[in-house]
Symmetry: C2
Subunit: 230 residues, 2 copies
């Protein structure tokens, strides 16, 4: 699966640069511009370390030229259809739903974004195979072009999702045993111990401890025990 | 639960305006700025229809003043910790994980974003209760400030997720029965009918039809039948 970002008649070069930056942030490289403005210093400034994407972008004179080798065209619209009768804009997908739908698909997928002011025309939306719409507040649904691109590329990105390495279950259990032993040593009321240990379990369960954190907590308990014995 | 967006020493007024726009797009209103630049025409232009958020923003002289009434402080960093030993930046959450963690929580939550160039300092990160990091490409992990805000606010937003109203199961079944009947009428090879109907079921199942689409497809079948009978 290969993504291509297509901007239809962007007006402001700064937005083109901002989109290039968001693309590089999320690991995308192919940018196609239909009738763009001249790309000068501002586009480079906004692209920051993504000027290579600007340098390598393709300029197309028409929708057909821009999407020529696409297997699937996804159009982004800020105005979602409200009834199932509006085939132009319905059904539409949220970025998360789009990711799910495109999962495991092969081929070239064009993600098409419209003009800053009027977006994609109905004629252009009709040429799209799928429509994506970012859920926004009803009060102000029109997003900045590069923000919309950033949100959609964020969802579609394959950037490794940082996984927090949690402590091993056994280590956490040993922490609770250790804590029970400390409660005994500090003469914590016997009839309250189980309840208090359960509360500790609930608190630390919510906190989702890392292995390192478990070891540090046990270190505190050990130091406590040593101090008691002295 | 109430969110507050805190920008620590933003350098460019345009970014402040862009963040305000993203806030309004996703239904957030409270903006606090620590030592901001002067907010002039550019910030208003970038805020577009969200100038009310700029007009109502609070200016704070220090971190403590900005986060004074917060129950929880979440710091955004573009540089995630890589080992569990780095307590300053670990453990960190992705925006989606953050949403899950904050789900059902009450109180005031400050979402703190750092400077455009150096982000939040280690001292500032230490004052945060939780750290959020957007998964990005290793090649270029540093996002534009307002893009980072847009992505995180997108995840935390309560904007109603557009749900596609799918066709009722019974209506879809009637569509397949109708299709079977048409296959008979067009003398489609008998031994292939089941297999072809299953293929149709798979294709249309993937397409997740709306009720309206099912009715239109049945209309096509009806017209086909009428034409055959004539």
């Amino acid at each position: 699966m290969k993504y291509r970002v297509v901007l239809v008649e962007p007006k402001y070069e700064g937005n083109v640069g901002s989109v290039a930056r968001a693309m590089k942030n999320f690991g995308f490289t192919d940018l196609v511009l239909i009738n763009p403005p001249e790309l000068g210093d501002l586009s480079k400034a906004m692209a920051s370390h993504a000027t290579d994407i600007l340098d390598n972008c393709k300029i197309a004179r028409s929708w057909e030229e821009a999407t020529a080798t696409s297997d699937l065209i996804v159009g982004a619209t800020g105005i979602a259809g409200t009834t199932n009768d509006e085939h132009v804009r319905m059904p539409f997908y949220t970025p998360a739903e789009l990711k799910e739908k495109l999962n495991k698909r092969g081929g070239v997928i064009s993600l098409v974004f419209g003009r800053e002011d009027i977006g994609l025309s109905n004629e252009e939306l009709k040429k799209c195979d799928m429509i994506v719409n970012i859920p926004t507040s009803e009060e102000y649904p029109v997003m900045n072009l590069s923000h919309a691109a950033a949100v959609i590329l964020y969802e579609l990105s394959d950037a490794p999702r940082g996984k927090i390495k949690l402590a091993k279950h056994d280590d956490i259990e040993r922490l609770y045993e250790h804590w029970r032993s400390v409660l005994e040593q500090i003469n914590y009321p016997k009839h309250k111990r189980d309840k208090t240990l359960l509360m500790l379990r609930r608190i630390l369960g919510r906190a989702m401890l890392t292995g390192r954190e478990v070891q540090t907590l046990r270190g505190i308990l050990r130091k406590t025990e040593w101090r008691i014995r002295k």
